[in-house]
Symmetry: C2
Subunit: 383 residues, 2 copies
């Protein structure tokens, strides 16, 4: 990665074109020694689509707004992991030798879709036949996962609450975050229930926003900046849509497969990271992710979280940017936003939320309730 750009996340007045343009402009402007747009060989967009704006052909809109018209642009839609898969495709384009410079953008414009329509628009990313049509929402799916995790491992509600408290606290140092309000465990536990045991403050918000990163082959990257960030390995996996078909309720097989593949390609694994960006769409999801990524033994993510280890300043900071929970979760933007954060952190330019001495990181992006996932490992390259 040689550049990265990010809009604010939140309830924004801008439309999808303006958000894409802003994130891409920022990414190009961030390249230390500058980059002509005509050098971009290929671009990828992660997004559910621009349905709220009655726009389609999202790839063409990225071409126009990034001002790379002419270059091939591929629109990847993998539910909430759209940009994670777009990033993987972008890395592949370079690995294959076919491209030298690749733009990967992620976008969602969600807040102008009416709430009934949005419930459907998002809901179809889960299972329809067995879950959605029976009334099970995403919060409901994750509530089942949380209840089972509590039953199997004795996970206390306080650990879920602590995930929200920590991520809200981290987001206060992220100017792009949707929320900048500190909350307490008592706030989380007292919030209205959405789907017990999950309350309002266990859930990520509905957000608008975009992010973009620029990838280059290693040799070219060194001509554009002295401090590129390397994609050391990518991995991905899939699973059944419906919970009932899966081997476990408290673990996502797609995450485990993705982590295993990424580790094999990178030659090192999640145990080596200085910090992690994980897919905390609900508080329970962060705990499950820590366990699936091998950052905590099965059933022990709660203890790790309650110990303070995953806070900024702790042994293994998780979601220093505030995560989906507090930074916001514009669906298709999230995977690109994670890469943006890692770009800042591994270059030591994350400001007040800097993870001291960060050298390796991972990004973990989940589609639907675990029907797909990507894990990407990053380092600063070199010997």
């Amino acid at each position: 990665m040689v550049g990265a750009g990010h809009t604010r996340f939140g309830v924004l007045p801008e439309g999808p074109r303006e958000l894409l343009r802003a994130a891409c402009d920022a990414a190009f402007a961030s390249v230390d020694r500058g980059l002509e747009r005509s050098r971009v060989d290929e671009a990828y967009l992660g997004s559910l689509g621009f349905s709220g704006w009655q726009l389609g052909n999202a790839s063409a809109i990225l071409a126009e707004e990034a001002r790379v018209v002419g270059a091939p642009v591929t629109h990847v839609e993998n539910a909430c992991a759209s940009a994670g898969f777009a990033l993987r495709s972008g890395a592949r384009a370079i690995e294959s030798g076919a491209a030298d410079l690749v733009l990967v953008a992620g976008l969602e414009k969600m807040t102008d879709v009416g709430s009934a329509r949005r419930r459907y628009w998002l809901g179809v990313s889960g299972d329809t036949e067995w879950e959605r049509l029976a009334g099970l929402t995403f919060a409901g799916v994750y509530a089942l996962i949380a209840a089972r995790h509590m039953a199997e491992h004795g996970t206390p509600a306080e650990a879920l609450a602590e995930v929200a408290v920590k991520n809200h606290d981290h987001a206060r140092s992220n100017p792009n975050a949707q929320f900048h309000k500190a909350i307490t465990r008592a706030d989380v536990l007292a919030a209205p229930r959405v789907a017990a045991p999950l309350g309002l403050l266990d859930c990520c918000p509905v957000s608008d926003g975009a992010a973009a990163v620029l990838l280059a082959g290693e040799e070219i990257a060194r001509t554009l900046t002295d401090t590129p960030v390397r994609i050391a390995g990518t991995g991905a996996g899939s699973d059944y849509l419906a919970l009932q078909e899966r081997s476990s309720l408290t673990s996502l097989a797609a995450t485990r497969r993705a982590a295993s593949e990424a580790s094999r390609r990178a030659g090192w694994g999640p145990d080596r990271v200085s910090f992690a960006e994980v897919h905390d769409c609900f508080t329970i999801a962060e705990l499950v992710a820590l366990e699936d990524l091998g950052l905590a033994p099965p059933g022990q993510a709660a203890e790790l979280t309650l110990s303070g280890a995953t806070r900024l300043g702790g042994r293994l900071p998780v979601n220093p940017d505030g995560g989906l929970k507090a930074k916001g979760h514009p669906i298709g933007a999230t995977g690109a936003s994670q890469a943006y954060e890692i770009f800042q952190q591994l270059r030591g330019s994350a400001g007040r939320r800097q993870v001291a001495g960060a050298e390796r990181a991972l990004a973990h992006n989940v589609g639907g309730s675990g029907a797909s996932a990507t894990v990407t490992l990053f380092d600063v390259g070199g010997p």
Copy 2:
């Protein structure tokens, strides 16, 4: 390519799951020496999405129906070129060395979407701000292209009609085609006008259907079959959505860029092909494609077509399977269907529509009215 499968195209009773399953089952069954599904490293799906069935997360549905759950699956949405871009991504996965065996499927289930909703669903793949909201439909866009082509080059209405007549004739030898009815130039010219100068028989139909191909690295391919078909080179390009922004009305820059890239990668170009699969969503589109691909000089595709050269048995058969016009055009399936046809033809197994001595071919897939395009060159490999 080591295998390929195809459903019928048309107004079908099956839903998206059944269509995907049938195409994938057929693709696996077609591998000469068999292929365990567990060997698939990665899969790609080209589709607008399953909105008519109120299903999302299309990648997960492919994983389930192809029975490759676990493997990473990426859903690519590039309007009518969705599967062309999916095929390109699949080829990249192998070129990068990351994957040995890749499934690429394409699907659309269109006929159960109400016509008003379908007009919107498809219409958003064109420009919305300047075209759709002013009432310009896809037929209208291509009518403008046709009118301009006629004015610039004196292209006669009979040449457009001949494209339809030829493709309907070819489709009669394709058991999967939507139409098996011979038509005459007089029929085409007398059909009700949809958007003058285009009439009903100048337009491709609304179709359901799916197709799938299996890709393998060259060495592995030779262990699976003695007659693999090689992807010699892929190319793609983008352009502005709105016609008014483009450099020409009678030529698609995205096609020209895609052809140039594919030729560079393959080391040979469209002038070497034994036949071509081109994106004839409207009759005029086939003429424009022939010129953009360099198969006819600018303004001379009409003459080439009227000469009979593009008929089966002619010097350069175009769309031997009937093309989008008569085989049908289930949006996201088309790029995969073209690859299926080339797989059959280059193995000499195309039956009554076999192009004698076919050794090289191209597939040309367009997104929207030319906002994106892919060109893929195929041969039988070897020295």
